[in-house]
Amino acid sequence: MALFEAKNLSAGYENGFVIENISFSLKEGEFISILGRNGSGKSTLIKALQGLLKNVSGQVRVDEKNIFLLKSRQIAKKIAYVPQIFSYSFEFSVLEIIHMGRYIHQGRLGGTSSLDSRKIEEVMNLTEISHLREKKIAHLSGGERQRVFIARALAQDTPLLFLDEPSSHLDISYQVEIYQILKRLQKEKGKTIFTTEHNINLAIPYSEKIMFLKGGKVQAVGPPKKLITRENIKKVFQADVEIRENIHSRLPEISLIHKPEEKA
């Protein structure tokens, strides 16, 4: 049975749909990455799937329930979200930010329960940010901040975890680190993970499934081994690449072809 399912989903903003006719499903514990060029509709898709957009048609179901009929509170019990752009207007500390992830588990006037504290410690250990707890969020590096926001999403304690380009703004070592944390969450905690990504090589070893998005439409869905081909990359990204095998993972990997400059 599918934990999460989209059927003929179209969505967008005031001036029309950006993504059209998207259908796919996620089983419990799966890791899927959405790949596509800038402007292909990745962020729109990840928002629409959680009911954050108003202009939608089609169906999205989580645990067989229609997401467009659920209250934000009910959706937040199923899906946690790490957005691509973090805004933080005031000087909240790391601990305060992670506490916000417990919102749905607390009463409006209620304080922090022992379960809350336990969960918060657990997610800080998982993401290795315990030493940063008193720091103000604005004083952290990009990688640290990304881990804090992942920890906040984990504190929400949901079966599904959605991340919008978790590797953007990060340097190479942090990119790998973030994906390793995600993989561990999938393996150890049984989380179902949905990410959008434009770094193809980064997504390949971690995802069971990838989905190519182009011009707001699904081009292909399947395991990376099958989908990562010269022709598909050309079709989706308009880029000429070679495909080779990564010597460690034995999985396909793309390498860019540098064209010599054309003479005028």
Binding site: S72, S87, F90, G101, Y103
Partner: protein
């Protein structure tokens, strides 16, 4: 943080009690501690008028208005995600003042204990201004702080000019214009307290009820919603109560600028941005701030009374400039 809050609380408590005591003792009629003693324990009738009806009501009103404006400011700063917002800066106060003067101009000033037409007028015109400012400072869904502040100031100036126009048409008294544009407590009585107190208490409890939601809004609307916050409803409620707080204040004592801007900002620096504590401490600090400002307004050029807006602007405007500079 907890120890910090406790220390601040005791400091504020001491300031509050001494502020009320000084307010009771200072006034046109010379009084001292023994008069207050006489009144309290020997039931002196003359002093009852001075202490209770004149001075206590005034001190209480100053406190309540300060608390309302600061709470309104704390809410608006959270609402606009910006520490430079406030009921005066975004134009709510000026809008509300116009509404109050308009209701007087039209002769609609019925009051039934705590529920006055003047406050309703003030509320709707204040609400109209803040909604207008909000819509105008959004460009293609992107919200710019500079635009917000400039639009707010322009809309406020517009409303103030309309207010002045109405006053000019209706009355020859220069005093009235000063009252509405610069604020004063010299008309305070118990009736006015009943026109502010219920709104303050109600709005304070609503704000406290939704304080966690306000914290979530600091992460952006989409993130707040994904964390389970009913963003649209919460935003509507906060805008309504912050306008009500400003409108009820303005309709009893005119525009008192900058209180709602500097107090919450200063409190946030001291105890952090958590709105569960910020709302309470802003209200308390704002009340004390206006209590002392009013004392200054009454005594600085004694026996002449200064409009209190002069005092708060003299303190607040430099602070505002300091904040603007800090942003760079």
């Amino acid at each position: 943080m907890k120890a910090k809050r406790l220390r601040l609380f005791f400091l504020l408590l001491v300031l509050l009690i001494s502020g009320f005591l000084i307010s009771l003792l200072v006034g046109p009629v010379k009084t001292n501690f023994s008069d207050l003693w006489d009144f309290l324990f020997n039931n002196d009738k003359i002093f009852s008028l001075i202490f209770i009806d004149l001075r206590l009501s005034r001190a209480l009103l100053a406190f309540l208005v300060g608390a309302s404006l600061s709470l309104s400011g704390a809410i608006l700063q959270g609402y606009f995600q910006n520490p430079m917002a406030g009921p005066f800066v975004v134009g709510v106060s000026s809008g509300a003042s116009f509404g109050a003067v308009l209701s007087i101009y039209l002769g609609l000033t019925i009051q039934v204990i705590g529920f006055s037409l003047q406050t309703i007028f003030a509320f709707f015109s204040g609400f109209a201004i803040v909604s207008l400012v909000y819509l105008l400072s959004q460009r293609k869904g992107v919200f710019k702080v500079e635009t917000l502040l400039l639009t707010g100031i322009a809309a406020g100036a517009m409303a103030s000019s309309l207010t002045s126009f109405l006053i000019f048409l209706k009355s020859e008294s220069y005093q009235q214009a000063v009252f509405w544009l610069l604020g004063s407590f010299h008309l305070s009585d118990w009736n006015q307290i009943t026109a502010v107190f219920p709104y303050f208490i109600l709005c304070f409890f609503v704000a406290q009820w939704l304080a966690k939601d306000m914290n979530l809004l600091a992460l952006g609307d989409e993130t707040a919603q994904s964390l389970g916050c009913p963003v649209n409803r919460v935003r509507k409620i906060f805008l309504t109560i912050s306008t009500f707080l400003a409108a009820s204040s303005v309709s009893v004592c005119g525009i008192i600028g900058f209180v709602g801007l500097i107090v919450p900002h200063w409190v946030r620096i001291l105890i952090g941005p958590d709105h569960r504590h910020l709302f309470f401490f802003s209200s308390l600090t704002g009340g004390i701030f206006l209590l002392y400002s009013d004392l200054l307004a009454r005594t600085l050029l004694f026996p002449i009374e200064l409009p209190i807006g002069i005092i708060t602007a003299a303190v607040g405007a430099p602070f505002f400039i300091y904040l603007l500079n800090q942003r760079r």
